[in-house]
């Protein structure tokens, strides 16, 4: 059978961000994938070294637009550890609240995109309509829909009043009923299941070899969540369930994500009910003592690792960012092997790529 090379990207409707896949097909089936990334590589790790500790926060927020808050959380958490800053309890609670709101926003965004890419425009409309509710909550708290500028070294930069948290709880309750409806679509809709079940199956061994993380790993039976297994911030004081499924296909990933959204809404309620009083930030020193730290958090897509080293000056000496999308991308050439070209879109969007994170 004749071979054909189909270039996909960097500009392509299924990709929201530029990556390039050169797909070699034999008939309908993919025989080889040549993956190219780096189109949105800006060189943030180098740029951070020329800024001081506080100036770095807005830049790090702009590594990625979807998971902006989790990046600054990881960075600030690391720097606070290095400098020995005791962060007020209220600040930690508010920071975690924002992280969970962001998880809801990210998962709903993904559900919409995957719906659109498998040809279910209605799914996109429902998911993105409901996502506006959580955007409203985030905007009411921090003033920004996408970039919140909520974190600073030593605490957070927003302090919601009881009236504001009550209004947020009302919106979250409304959102919960809508997410239940979305979960019913994902779980029972025949057209969604037939398009996603059995696609891009990864077993536990694949997950481990490529070091895959987050919902993708949890959909393949890996029971690992940084929030529970390497507790940080205030997560030890909150109770939540880690969602694990065994199927390992795109459908299982969708189920894990909608169930996680439900969990996150519950966590948000929990945080708002437990929210302690007091200050929301403490003053941070200009200089950070010599040392190094590995700071890790669970982003919507999996584990984010920051390595931060200080030489005692006003600038970071090294900030290394490892984001969860990079291993996912690394697994693509093998994952797409032998797959029909029509199913490729489902598998690519099912992995929930965030290229801006991966390229930095």
């Amino acid at each position: 059978m004749s071979r054909l090379v189909i270039p996909i990207g960097p500009q392509h409707p299924i990709l929201k961000e530029p990556i390039s896949l050169k797909v070699e097909v034999e008939g309908e089936n993919i025989t080889h994938v040549d993956l190219q990334i780096g189109f949105v590589h800006r060189g943030i790790e180098k740029l951070v070294e020329s800024l001081n500790w506080v100036q770095a926060v807005p830049l790090i927020e702009r590594i990625c637009g979807i998971c902006s808050h989790v990046h600054t959380t990881t960075y600030c958490q690391g720097v606070e550890q290095l400098a020995g800053i005791e962060v007020p309890k209220r600040a930690l609670y508010l920071r975690t609240l924002m992280c969970e709101l962001e998880r809801i926003h990210s998962h709903l965004l993904w559900l919409g995109i995957v719906g659109r890419n498998i040809g279910q425009e209605a799914m996109f409309m429902y998911a993105w309509r409901d996502r506006e509710l959580v955007m409203d909550v985030m905007e009411a708290f921090s003033g920004g829909r996408v970039s919140h500028q909520a974190n600073t070294i030593g605490g957070v930069r927003f302090d919601p009043s009881p009236a504001e948290t009550a209004a947020a709880q009302k919106l979250l309750a409304e959102l919960e009923s809508k997410v239940v409806a979305l979960r019913n679509i994902v779980e029972h809709s025949e057209s969604f299941i037939s398009r996603t079940a059995g696609m891009g199956v990864m077993n536990r061994d694949d997950i481990r070899r490529y070091g895959l993380l987050g919902p993708v790993a949890r959909a393949s039976g890996v029971d690992f969540d940084l929030r529970r297994d390497r507790p940080y911030s205030v997560y030890p004081e909150l109770d939540f369930k880690v969602i694990v499924r065994r199927e390992g296909d795109v459908w299982a990933r969708a189920m894990v994500r909608v169930e996680e959204t439900m969990q996150s809404i519950a966590i948000c309620h929990h945080i708002i009910n437990k929210l302690p009083g007091g200050a929301v930030s403490v003053k941070a020193p200009r200089r950070v003592p010599v040392g190094e730290v590995i700071s890790r958090t669970e982003a919507p897509r999996g584990e984010v690792v920051y390595y931060i080293r200080s030489e005692g000056g006003e600038h970071p000496a090294r900030v290394k960012v490892r984001t969860p999308t990079l291993p996912t991308l690394a697994s693509f050439p093998e994952l797409l092997q032998g797959v029909s070209i029509a199913d490729m879109t489902v598998i690519i969007s099912g992995a929930d790529l965030c290229i801006a994170c991966a390229d930095r």
Binding site: E17, V40, R42, F124, C354
Partner: protein, 139 residues
């Protein structure tokens, strides 16, 4: 006469193409948010297109990185004339926060001509809406 008819037709339903030239994704999700039921830009006949050859307006986000430059030029060439470019986001206007990064060339206007700049980091959907409308009114 034909020219006027052409311009009138052009005004009614401009089709847009979006391209992220190296930004953080924040403006892109707000751009996509324009198509959700709350903002619903499609009721004005503004449709998102997959191919540059069908598009009238190119909406670019992000600063231009070295690697993306040839692709951006190619996309611009492929859009049939008359074509218009709208830059969304501060970093697309000037390079913004990434201006001094080693892999960034600067704003979109370093590579292709730009008709309208919309600063903001990230831009709200309402602002993007307004910018598209302004661009159409100018046609």
């Amino acid at each position: 006469m034909i020219q006027r008819l052409f311009r009138l037709a052009h005004k009614k339903s401009p089709w847009i193409l979006t391209y992220n030239a190296g930004g953080c994704n924040g403006c892109d999700i707000e751009l996509l948010g324009l198509f959700n039921p709350r903002y619903d830009i499609e009721r004005f006949g503004i449709l998102q297109q997959a191919s540059p050859r069908h598009a009238d307006i190119l909406i670019c986000t992000g600063p231009v990185t070295i690697k993306t430059r040839p692709y951006l030029e190619r996309i611009y060439e492929q859009i049939p004339s008359p074509k218009h470019v709208l830059v969304v986001g501060s970093c697309g206007c000037t390079g913004g926060i990434f201006k001094n990064a080693y892999n960034v060339l600067g704003g979109i206007d370093q590579v292709i001509p730009v008709d309208l700049y919309l600063p903001g980091c990230p831009c709200r959907p309402e602002a993007i809406f307004n910018a598209v409308q302004t661009l159409i009114d100018r046609l």
